[in-house]
């Protein structure tokens, strides 16, 4: 009975996997806002309104300088967007947020108003991982949000397996680590052991504000403010948590699996 019903149901529904990246990306919720853009040339003289409302100190403004926003620290609460009298910080609605270099997350200066999106792995690494990437996830001192939105990529709607990307149980079976969480001191040893157990060559992907810079807990003595002090990071995916689409975009971008990357 059950078997027949479920088979019929499957036939009726057909494939529920989204057409992205061949087709259009699913729309972000309208209030999501996506990536932020900072045009610091609009900053009023001496104004520090955004600096004062930022819960993670992601925005700085040195005396005489202009505001600079570190999207690695940002938890996308948009308090700065609401506060800025000059509309220097705006939402772009763009789901693409992943970068390869930490400094590419810092916005504000002329030419650096927006993120410098990640380039694909090159040469040998891309040949090795481009069509098959196995990742060991290490959750190290977060809230479980990034884990949940990474996990969701395995569901039928996203079907991460179609890209040859898979989360594996052992670091010995992995090509790299996907790290979430601000890296609590209590997870430091476990993270080091997991990293050491992954065979060379290997990569690290930091997902979420915590893994990049400590997230909402930045500065607490119980944490290491992200994974960078333990492992070298090859891909930064900001957000709190990043939307699943943002995570998938980052992974595909890194592997050179997006059409726009191939076209270049």
């Amino acid at each position: 009975m059950i078997a027949i019903e479920t088979i019929l149901h499957r036939l009726q529904r057909g494939s529920q996997t989204m057409s992205y990246p061949a087709g259009a990306a699913p729309a972000l919720p309208d209030r999501h806002g996506g990536a932020l853009r900072v045009d610091a040339s609009k900053c009023a003289e001496g104004c520090k309104a955004c600096v004062e409302v930022c819960p993670t100190h992601a925005i700085t403004r040195p005396p005489g300088g202009t505001a600079s926003l570190d999207l690695g620290r940002c938890i996308f609460c948009a308090a700065c967007v609401e506060t800025c009298p000059a509309k220097a910080i705006t939402k772009t609605g763009d789901y693409r947020l992943a970068v390869r270099r930490r400094e590419d997350l810092v916005l504000g200066q002329p030419g650096g108003e927006e993120l410098r999106l990640a380039a694909a792995l090159d040469g040998k690494l891309r040949r090795l991982f481009g069509r098959s990437l196995r990742l060991r996830v290490v959750s190290a001192g977060g809230c479980g949000g990034c884990e949940a939105d990474t996990n969701v990529l395995g569901t039928i709607g996203w079907d991460l397996g179609r890209f040859g990307i898979q989360f594996v149980a052992s670091p010995r079976h992995a090509d790299g680590l996907l790290i979430t969480g601000c890296v609590s001191k209590n997870m430091e040893l476990a993270l080091k052991k997991a990293w050491d157990a992954v065979p060379e060559p290997k990569i690290v992907i930091a997902v979420g504000a915590c893994a990049i810079a400590g997230g909402p807990f930045v500065g607490h003595p119980q944490i290491l403010n992200g994974a960078a002090s333990i492992v070298p990071i090859d891909l930064f995916i900001p957000g709190c948590p990043p939307h699943p689409l943002t995570i998938l975009d980052g992974l595909l971008r890194l592997l050179g699996r997006l059409g726009e990357e191939r076209a270049k």
Binding site: G142, E147, A190, P241
Partner: protein
């Protein structure tokens, strides 16, 4: 029952002057707390307040049947006091925590170990309880687990397949949230409240907002309270649906697993319709809500909700009709009613052991004073019961949401929350999807936090999972674990 208690009474989401909280010598305090627990009260929180020398103990207890909370405190003490745990096991972790945080030694505690502190390499790794014998073996799992999940350590004592004892050691996610709250609230406090447990953002954020409103002597506008209640049930729907899918996956029943995995995301996307964030971050603020649910948005939400509920109905139907699922769920991982009572279990785990225990019903605050969700209870205490309670709650939350979306209150969504009263204690309970979330705050003479205590439902319930595993096959651990689906980060703070 509660009218004769020497404790000071207070309703959920209200405050009282610290001077009105009775203070007794610690022996009397422990004895009187024991007396109240013996006549049906339940320990919601038990914590220390630092004093110039030592600390003071505070107990927040609930008289569920009388719909009231009660508090009392001890005189300041240093060193040791007679433990409550030997006679009242529900205090076991609280007393370990107080020992870790304030150095107060609960004399007679049967298993005094750290709760979450770093002891050099990994937390809490003092000697584990060991079963000795030639045919006994030990299985150690974690902190890193096989799946995409949070870290924790499980130590099993086994005889063949049979688990004789499971000890759970946590603390790996410890981010110092409570410590950082001293002298708060700070700029980052609201964001930290939203990330105590990422899947319970609405529950914890609501508790925090209600504590701050109680301290300010204010209340959020009704429309904001309504929207919080709507968001809380959406959070419950997403997580319960995900749990049913995960349970189905663990017994290799893939149709329901695949469908529920996707539907969980559909419910999260409904929360994102309100706030832009799938977990509701940025929605709840002291004094109200940051986003409104305007009529067109409410219509969109309701339409998508109906579709998702119909799909869950179908997917869950396969689950309940399948004999193979029933045979794997029934009788697996039982927690008996007496055990659940003695351990002070809360939420789904308590209700699946036959206990009628639900903050929305027992201690209605906010919108739950006006709109009720019937309590879902199932006897048996096994995996089947915990799955069944989730299914009942999915249906009842769905019905509640349809009713609420049809009749929204009008008005403002946010009001200014004034300064916090000095030297005042406030307590707010919220029935999160896992169970009772308790936040308690005590302010100093400036109205800053002198002490802020967070109790996630997982703090009460992890011991339930350990007990459920006794006498079970170790191969049934995943399904038992999923049937509780407790929070590591909510526990670790």
């Amino acid at each position: 029952m509660s009218s004769s208690t020497p404790f000071a009474l207070l309703a959920n989401a209200t405050s009282l002057p610290w001077l009105d909280v009775p203070q007794w010598p610690v022996k009397d305090f422990v004895r009187r707390t024991a007396t109240e627990l013996d006549r049906g009260a339940r320990l919601c929180a038990w914590f220390g307040v630092p004093e110039s020398a030592g600390a003071r103990l505070v107990a927040v207890i609930a008289f569920d049947a009388d719909n009231t909370l009660a508090v009392a405190s001890s005189a300041p003490l240093d060193g040791s006091y007679p433990a409550l745990t030997p006679t009242h096991p529900q205090a076991h972790l609280f007393e370990r925590e107080v020992w870790e945080q304030h150095g107060l030694n609960p004399a007679g505690h049967p298993w005094l170990k750290p709760v979450r502190k770093n002891k050099g390499d990994a937390p809490t790794n003092r000697e584990f309880f060991r079963v000795e014998g030639r045919e006994i073996h030990e299985v150690a799992v974690g902190p890193i687990h096989a799946g995409v999940i949070e870290p924790g350590h499980f130590r099993f004592q086994c005889h063949g397949e049979e688990v004789l004892h499971l000890e759970i050691a946590l603390g790996y996610q410890h981010r110092g949230i409570e410590e950082a709250l001293a002298n708060g609230p700070h700029l980052a406090t609201m964001s930290q409240m939203e990330t105590i447990g990422g899947d319970a953002t609405i529950g914890h954020a609501t508790s925090y907002a209600m504590v701050l409103e109680a301290l300010a002597g204010a209340e959020a506008p009704l429309r904001a309270q309504w929207l919080r209640a709507v968001a809380l049930e959406l959070e419950r729907l997403a997580n319960h649906t995900g749990d049913l899918g995960a349970l189905a996956g663990d017994v290799a029943f893939l149709p329901a697993s695949a469908a529920c995995g996707k539907l969980r995301g559909d419910f999260l996307n409904l929360t994102a319709v309100i706030s832009g964030n799938r977990y509701g971050r940025g929605l709840i603020r002291p004094g109200g809500c940051r986003h409104d649910l305007e009529p067109p948005r409410a219509n969109e939400l309701e339409e998508k909700l109906r579709g998702a509920l119909a799909d869950v109905d179908e997917a869950a139907g396969w689950l309940w009709e399948s004999n193979s699922v029933r045979s794997r769920f029934e009788g697996t991982g039982p927690v008996f009613t007496e055990q659940a009572t003695a351990l002070g279990l809360v939420g789904v785990a308590a209700r699946a052991s036959g206990l009628v225990r639900d903050v929305r019903f027992d201690h209605p605050a906010g919108w739950h004073r006006f709109g009720q969700v019937p309590v879902a209870v199932w006897p048996g205490g096994d995996v089947f019961a915990r799955a069944k309670v989730r299914w009942l709650e999915i249906q009842r939350s769905g019905k509640f949401l349809k009713e609420q979306l049809a009749a929204p209150p009008e008005g403002e969504i946010r009001a200014e929350n004034g300064p916090l009263a000095p030297d005042t204690l406030a307590v707010a309970l919220v029935e999160g999807w896992r169970g009772e979330i308790c936040h308690a705050a005590l302010t100093d003479e400036q109205g800053r936090f002198r002490r802020y205590k967070i109790t996630d439902p997982s703090f009460h319930n992890w011991i339930g999972l350990a007990l459920a595993m006794r006498g079970q096959a170790i191969s049934d651990f995943p399904i038992c674990n999923k049937s509780f689906n407790l929070s590591y980060c909510g526990f670790d703070l």
